[in-house]
């Protein structure tokens, strides 16, 4: 049948999956993956844990995406958007795992779009204000170095799903960190002005780094069971990485991370999270029946 106009082909009958403009219908990130829980693990706790690591990635990705159309150069927008995309991918897998583990069957969208700020469990640094490009780079350096150390341990988790998600994340975080390192060196060891801005960025980012190493009770219990990772012991390794990078960038590295205090991990967020989520959730909340 010949169409009346060029759009007819898009809305006429299809065998369902061809309508890319309206989504593929394939949304489950973990379709066909064996999601049985490992022996002795509480599904509710595993779900909380997946939510923490998933929220870290999702919120950081949303913050990074704000650089699109706003970075110093097109190449950096592409880079930051690519990094955000990897993190969204990690978040999708982790949040899908959370919905299965807690038995609610909630999908990734329920977690991403239909929770209030106080229900998010990301560390505060993931939501920290966007700031200037130097701050974005120093934030990315801290978060990617920390998450890389964490994921490389999690890749040996007794939960095969978490282990697989983490092993893949390690490959991606390795080049996220490389990107942050290359810019930290260029900005720190650049002009007097870029060095000044980058030193200021380190001072802005540093107070939020303590929480990265604060152990939540759920993390402690799952670490004991060989399923999760206790972030506390990562302190020395991550500090060593940051000292090497900042020193090479001719910047002063603070002697240690601040004291560990749970904040975002237990739902205690700064004022910057709510507006970030509002932007992320606006379309989904306005069209609750939409498929992507």
């Amino acid at each position: 049948m010949s169409g009346e106009n060029i759009f007819t082909g898009m809305v006429e009958e299809h065998d369902g999956d061809e309508r890319w403009a309206f989504g593929t219908g394939f949304t489950e990130a973990l379709a066909g993956v064996d999601t049985a829980l490992p022996e002795g693990v509480d599904g509710g706790e595993l779900a909380q844990y997946c939510q923490m690591l998933g929220d870290d990635a999702l919120v950081q990705a949303q913050r990074l995406s704000q650089w699109v159309t706003d970075a110093p150069e097109l190449e950096e927008e592409v880079a930051l958007a690519n990094i955000a995309l990897d993190l969204i991918g990690q978040a999708r897998l982790l949040l899908a795992r959370a919905g299965q583990a807690d038995g609610t069957g909630r999908d990734e969208d329920a977690f991403a779009y239909r929770r209030e700020a106080a229900q998010f469990r990301n560390v505060r640094l993931a939501a920290a204000p966007r700031g200037d490009f130097a701050r974005a780079i120093v934030t990315l350096l801290a978060l990617s170095s920390w998450r890389l150390a964490l994921m490389s341990r999690l890749s040996r988790s007794r939960d095969p799903v978490l282990a697989a998600i983490a092993a893949k994340a390690v490959n991606e975080l390795t080049y996220h960190r490389e990107y942050a390192v290359s810019w930290a060196l260029r900005l720190g060891d650049g002009t007097e002005y870029s060095r000044e801005r980058t030193a200021a960025a380190v001072a802005q980012v540093w107070p939020d780094t303590g929480e990265l190493f604060a152990t939540h009770p759920v993390e402690a219990r799952l670490a004991e069971l060989g399923v999760g990772v206790d972030p506390g012991p990562l302190r020395a390794e991550v500090h060593d990485v940051l000292v090497q990078v900042l020193t090479a960038a001719t910047l002063d590295a603070p002697a240690a991370f601040p004291e560990s205090v749970l904040a975002g991990r237990s739902g205690d967020h700064g004022p910057e999270l709510a507006p970030l989520l509002q932007e992320m959730q606006e379309v989904a909340r306005a069209h609750p029946e939409a498929t992507w």
Binding site: D15, D17, E18, W20, G23, T24, G25, F26, T27, A29, L30, A31, G32, V33, E75, V78, A79, A81, N82, I83, L85, D86, L87, I88, G89, Q90, R92, L93, L148, A149, S152, P160, V161, A163, A164, I165, A167, K168, A169, V170, N171, E172, L173, T174, Y175, R177, E178, Y179, V181, S182, L185, E237, V241, Q244, V245, A248
Partner: protein
Amino acid sequence: MVSTLTERDRARGAAAAVTDPELPMLTLQDLGILREVRIEQDGTVAVWITPTYSGCPALAEMRADVDRAVRAAGFERVEVRTALSPAWSSDWITERGRRKLSEYGISPPGQAPERPSGPVPLTLLPTRAVPRCPLCGSDGTEELSRFGATSCKSLHRCRSCLEPFEHVKEI
């Protein structure tokens, strides 16, 4: 009666011929993301594919395309499943896939870096091998950006023929 092995080969052939929506010169077989095809007792064709990158947006389309291709080959029940482990490596791109990338002006990946079992060592200097220009074959190329139009590619420029080109990253 057709033997099950032949049926499986036919189902596998249909799935293997599906092309990547973002690299249409490559089939899922060329890319190394088709992991397994089995026909289960109830006749369901189960196809396992693996994502290249966690956030690869093409995965949903590939799953839909595989579903459609296997159905079109005459199988009524198809399930496309995700294989998360082991993580995809660019080393899985076949020789034929590499040749086709080059023919399309995209530089194929070199050998993927070794995956450390402990902490990932920090490198402060670029350690990547410089890709050869897929257009003129020159070794004199430079990286413009480690990130490109899709997760799997970086951007480069040839200093001899001055043409920009894409390179599939080693991962």
